[in-house]
Structure formats: C-alpha cells, structure tokens
C-alpha cells in the first residue's frame, strides 16, 4: 500500500515536471514586456540633432493625428535594415515621424541620414539613453505609434518590416 502511494506520487511528480518542461519548449524564453500598449507618453526634454537647440516633448508632439517615434543609432545594424520602411512611412501625410538618436555620435548620425535619406520630421538625441528608458523602451531599434492624445497605441520591438508598415497604415487610415 505504501509503495503504491509512493509510485502514484512519483508518477504525478514526473508528469508535472514533463508538463512544465514541455510547456517551456513552446516559449522562446525572451520576455516581451506586458505594458507595451495604451501607455501615456512621458514628458521629456531633448536636443535637436541638427540645431542642438533644446526641445520639449510637447513641442514635438503637436500638429498631427499620429506620431511615430523611432529609437535608432548608426551602430545598430537592424536600424539600417528598417530604414526603407521608415522612408515608406514618411510618405504618409497623416503621420509625423520623430527619430530618437540613441547614444550615438551626432556627426555619424547626420552622415547616416544624408546618405540613406531623412524620414524624420524631427530628429532628437538621447545622449545618455535615459529618454528611451523613460519611454519604456526595451531595445534598439524600437518604434512607438502614438496618437494625438499622446498615448502609445502600438510598440514594435526590433526592426520594422513590411508587415509592420501594413499594420501602421491600417491603424492610421
């Protein structure tokens, strides 16, 4: 009788372990933040990449129904990869594109934009990276779609692709 209980307990324990491990196989192990949508945009102060003048978020986020804030840097390879998608989005007149240059050399950033094209209406800098953290940024590149109420309605972690562009165009239509 005692052995039977032990065997049942052992089988139960092994089944539990198997179930947990099997479930974990389905997960990539990479955490995606739970708070990526419907977040209030944090107020911040930055500097314009070209004029070096101070600029506040309330000055940046005005005059459009939708805004795209893209965190990028010249040293980030996926940023280069998503540049055509940003150029494509810049053709949409109902979106204002803002580029947040993350921990980068300003000269290199300007050279990058001159060479590949400048999709952004406003180019701002994040020299020590704190603005990106205040915005709830998770990595680089990262793109936030923001509505006129200054709410982040969608976050794209990693480089944008044609599917992301389609999704954005569907939302802003």
């Amino acid at each position: 009788m005692k052995n039977k209980i032990l065997i049942i307990l052992l089988v139960f324990f092994l089944s539990f372990c198997f179930f947990v491990l099997f479930k974990s196989l389905e997960s990539s192990g990479i955490y995606v933040p739970e708070k990526t949508e419907n977040r209030e945009l944090t107020e911040f102060v930055s500097k314009d990449l070209f004029s070096k003048k101070k600029i506040t978020s309330s000055e940046i986020f005005q005059g459009s129904d939708y805004y795209i804030l893209n965190i990028w840097a010249t040293w980030c390879a996926p940023c280069r990869k998503e540049h055509p998608q940003l150029m494509e989005l810049s053709k949409n007149s109902s979106i204002k594109l803002i580029g947040l240059n993350y921990r980068d050399d300003s000269k290199k950033a300007k050279k990058f934009l001159n060479k590949l094209g400048n999709p952004f209406s406003v180019n701002i800098t994040d020299q020590n990276g704190t603005i990106s953290i205040e915005l709830g940024g998770y990595g680089i590149p990262e793109t936030f779609l923001i509505n006129k109420d200054k709410k982040i309605i969608k976050t794209f972690i990693g480089n944008l692709n044609n599917e992301s562009v389609r999704q954005i165009n569907l939302i802003v239509k």
């Binding site: 708070k35 993350y102 990276g129 990106s132 953290i133 709830g136 940024g137 990595g139």
Partner: protein
C-alpha cells in the same frame, strides 16, 4: 589671510559632503540595479550587465535618486514602465503566489516526512 583660511576650510567641508553624498547615491544605485533584470541580457541584473540599455538604466536610477525619489518609488516607476518582471524581488500577488508558496509548502512537506520518520524510528 584669515579669510583665505576660512574659505579653504569651507571648500574642504563642501567637498567632503558632496563626495559623501555622491557615494551614498552610488551605493543606492548599485543596490537597486542589483535587483533589476537586464532588458537585453535577461539572465543578468542591470548591475552586472554592460549592455547599452543597462548602462542607461543605471544613469536613470542615479538621476531619479538625485531628484529625491526613494528606492520603493524607483521600483514603482520602473514597474509601471516594464511590469513586475523587471524586479527580481517580485511582490506577492495572484500571479506569483505559486512562486512564493511552493517553497514554503515543500519545506513543511519535507519537515512532516522527516518528523514522521523520526517518530516511527523511536517507536
């Protein structure tokens, strides 16, 4: 000459306080960053990680301390941005009760088994 001496003493005192204050801030920054998960290298703490976002996070924590936020307020600020996941020392709630409860349950279960074995051995 006397005035110069007073000025010198004042400078030394001011420097001493600013160094002591900065050191206290650094200690608190280290303490907080040890309890935060790195966003990029998810197996490491912010303190251990050298990724760009971890470095930025340390700068931000220091900035928040200088602004007068305490440890709890900084955790709340970051949890609001990234969720409960960001802290290693997770709070007890409906999502984490198994995490907190299971070790206690196993401890008592193990204790009960040992106790039972000892009692039976005596008999």
């Amino acid at each position: 000459m006397k005035l110069l001496k007073i000025f010198f003493v004042l400078i030394v005192i001011l420097n001493f306080f600013s160094i002591a204050f900065a050191e206290k801030n650094d200690q608190l920054t280290n303490k907080i960053s040890k309890n935060l998960r790195c966003l990029i290298c998810q197996g490491q703490s912010i303190y251990d990680s050298q990724s760009d976002f971890a470095v930025s996070m340390k700068v931000l924590i220091n900035k928040k301390i200088e602004q007068g936020l305490n440890e709890k307020e900084i955790y709340e600020f970051l949890k609001d941005k990234y969720g409960e996941w960001i802290v290693y020392d997770t709070a007890f709630n409906k999502n984490t009760f198994i995490l907190w409860g299971l070790p206690v349950l196993l401890f008592f279960l193990g204790g009960a088994i040992i106790f039972k074995k000892l009692v039976f051995r005596k008999v």
